[in-house]
């Protein structure tokens, strides 16, 4: 029998080095963690110019406006819009302002039990429509630009189809429109479970339960590796600050009104009505052919929440001739926060809007 030689001396040496390294890292980490940390998010100066119920409208004014038509950003009801303004030099909002785009952004607030009956129609034909009216009055233009993010992208598509006369240009980012795909665990789970009943049981769909669901999309990375990485870098002040900012954002999850949640799961995930132009909102059919304004559609190649297959059909179903798909080599969040996308994303939007600003 061959005796296998195990380099015990090297292994022991490695363990010892690792021990010493960890010990000194912990000492440095204690200085970092107990010192002053800048973990503020959403720090770009803005003013709240409109309020309705729990909904607020944030206004960001550029130093020099190059795009005449203001841009309304409609974020998803899941998590918060602060993701677009995580920190200075890593902020989509800041980049858009640098490009001379005047930005309005909806803060959906925190729905409570009394909001459980609010439907998709109430969001689109109520809050969004009132906000568009407000911005139109402010800027003196009948039409404004709209950018939708994820579920907010679905809202902006519905709004553009129902009120095409109010939208000059439409930007959709990581927006699921085709739910008839088995790519992406969310599609599989939502189609094959009765998750919508949770809306009834909890009155609203609790943000924490949704967050748990998102963590379960990749437990190895999101529940283990992420924190191992934090442990390995917790002596690095910049790393810690960025990590905490992201943690603050990711676990800041408002509940989703039950009626909206149930409608979204049933009509979109289960019946895939939107892409077939069969979705009914407040008794009116959402006909994608009525989207005749210019449309640019961004999505991520490695998006595990909204896979490319959920996004890339949309532009072929609309009435507009001026349409474009842009796929970044990144994931669902990376499109807004990765350094590479930071350099490309906002400038591309600003340029595209600038070329269609008449």
């Amino acid at each position: 029998m061959n005796q296998v030689k195990i380099p015990v001396d090297l292994i022991l040496k490695s363990i010892d080095e690792s021990r010493r390294d960890t010990s000194s890292r912990l000492k440095r980490a204690s200085t970092v963690l107990t010192g002053e940390l800048d973990t503020e998010i959403a720090s770009t100066p803005h003013s709240v110019v409109y309020e309705e119920d729990r909904v607020k409208l944030k206004h960001y004014k550029p130093e020099k406006q190059r795009v005449k038509t203001p841009l309304l950003v409609i974020y998803a009801l899941i998590n918060r819009e602060t993701m677009l303004d995580l920190q200075p030099k890593r902020s989509v909002i800041e980049n858009l302002l640098d490009q001379g785009v005047e930005v309005y952004m909806i803060d959906w607030g925190y729905p409570t039990r009394k909001d459980q009956f609010v439907t998709i129609g109430d969001h689109v034909n109520g809050y969004i429509h009132n906000i568009v009216n407000f911005i139109s009055d402010e800027c003196g233009s009948q039409k404004i630009n709209i950018m939708g993010i994820c579920m907010g992208g679905v809202f902006s598509i519905i709004y553009s189809a129902l009120h095409p006369e109010r939208v000059r240009n439409l930007v959709t980012t990581v927006t699921p429109t085709n739910f008839d795909t088995d790519k992406g665990l969310l599609n599989i789970w939502m189609k094959n479970t009765d998750a919508e009943i949770l809306g009834d049981v909890y009155a609203n769909m609790p943000g924490d339960i949704m967050n748990l669901g998102f963590l379960l999309l990749n437990p190895a990375r999101l529940m283990i590796d992420k924190y191992v990485s934090f442990f390995q870098n917790m002596d690095n002040k910049t790393f810690v600050e960025n990590f905490i900012r992201m943690e603050k954002w990711i676990f800041d999850s408002p509940d989703v009104p039950a009626a909206t949640f149930k409608q979204f799961i049933t009509d979109c995930f289960k019946q895939n009505l939107l892409i077939q132009s069969k979705l009914q909102i407040d008794g009116e059919r959402v006909d994608l052919k009525k989207i005749t304004m210019p449309v640019i559609n961004f999505y991520g190649k490695y998006d595990h929440l909204v896979p490319p297959e959920s996004c890339d059909v949309f532009t072929s179903m609309i009435g507009s001739e001026d349409r474009e798909d842009v796929c970044f080599d990144t994931g669902h969040i990376g499109i807004y926060v990765s350094s590479k996308c930071q350099r490309e994303f906002a400038p591309r939007i600003a340029e595209w809007l600038g070329n269609r600003d008449n």
Binding site: V4, I6, R113, K114, Q116, W189, I197, V201, A220, V228
Partner: protein, 309 residues
């Protein structure tokens, strides 16, 4: 047999003695010159009428009657001609209890055997990269045992004034047990990839050791493990088994939450505190009114615009 007869006779004699002593005691009490409440009665007004006297002793008389009935009943029971029948009934009752216990114990033993068997077979039945062959027997066995042996007791019809409350309690216990069993199964599934990834890493390390290529860098080994774990989770999370268990967990959670809410509502109603259901009705009315006001405001605006133009 003779021993049994002897025991029966002794026991009967003992019981008869006790009954006689008790009867004598209560008769003595009854024959006292001053009954319990008589002293107090004498300090009262001397002009009490006979009807008044009766009123004062009413509670005592009622108590005395009850005891007399009780004593008569026991005397009747202990009469030699009735003893056989009593012992027969007692033995029938004991037999019934023994039989029910025996059946339950048999089922419980069966469940335990099944549990041990399925726990032992769990790792054999789950191939490293396939989650379609996960052994659910453990959890199913428990649920089967619960359904056949325990649930029926919770489903015994409730009666009387607190019927609704008892029903809520029983249903709450029932749904809570079902939810816990589904949750346990769900958590078990989530732990499987950890176990499997460790098995795979152990194999890998063994191979590395055998080929003399073992890495001394723990970070490298951790990196390999996390990749394996990620792959294992992807396999699990995509499987229909996982979706089924997830769906069952969601369904049972919903049922559990519903009955918990109903039970809470029962207490809140007693305390005159508005329940969530009450508030939901108010919220619904508010929502409908706001919607109507919004529509009307828009119509008014349009009319105003039409008038100005």
């Amino acid at each position: 047999m003779a021993e049994n007869d002897q025991f029966s006779a002794d026991f009967s004699k003992l019981f008869q003695n006790w009954t006689e002593t008790a009867v004598k005691f209560w008769q003595d009490v009854g024959n006292q010159e001053q009954p319990f409440s008589a002293a107090a009665a004498k300090t009262d007004s001397q002009s009490d009428s006979a009807a008044g006297e009766d009123d004062k002793y009413r509670a005592y008389r009622s108590w005395e009657n009850t005891w007399n009935t009780y004593i008569s009943f026991f005397q009747l029971m202990m009469a030699p001609q009735n003893q056989d029948e009593i012992f027969k009934n007692a033995s029938t009752l004991a037999e019934t209890i023994t039989q029910a216990t025996e059946e339950s114990l048999e089922n419980f033993t069966e469940f335990q055997t099944e549990l041990v068997r399925s726990l032992a077979a769990a790792t054999q039945h789950t191939n490293t990269h396939h989650y379609s062959t996960i052994d659910h027997t453990t959890f199913e066995s428990f649920r089967e045992f619960y359904r056949t042996e325990l649930q029926k007791y919770l489903h015994i019809p409730k009666i009387g004034l607190p019927r609704e409350l008892h029903e809520h309690f029983a249903e709450f216990t029932d749904k809570s047990n079902i939810f816990c069993s589904h949750l346990a199964e769900f958590l078990y599934l989530l732990i499987l990839p950890l176990e499997k990834s460790q098995q795979l890493m152990q194999k890998k390390i063994k191979q590395m050791v055998e080929s003399g290529e073992i890495s001394t860098d723990s970070k490298e080994l951790y990196g390999d493990w996390i990749k394996v774990l990620e792959g294992q989770y992807m396999q699990l999370l995509k499987s229909s088994e996982y979706t089924d268990v997830l769906n069952n967990t969601i369904g049972s959670l919903a049922e559990y939450k519903r009955i918990k809410q109903e039970l809470t509502n029962t207490f809140l109603k007693d305390l005159q505190i508005p329940t969530n259901s009450d508030m939901d009705e108010v919220y619904k009315e508010l929502y409908t009114m706001k919607k109507k006001i919004r529509e009307l405001s828009r119509k008014v605006e349009m009319l105003e615009k039409d008038n100005t133009s």
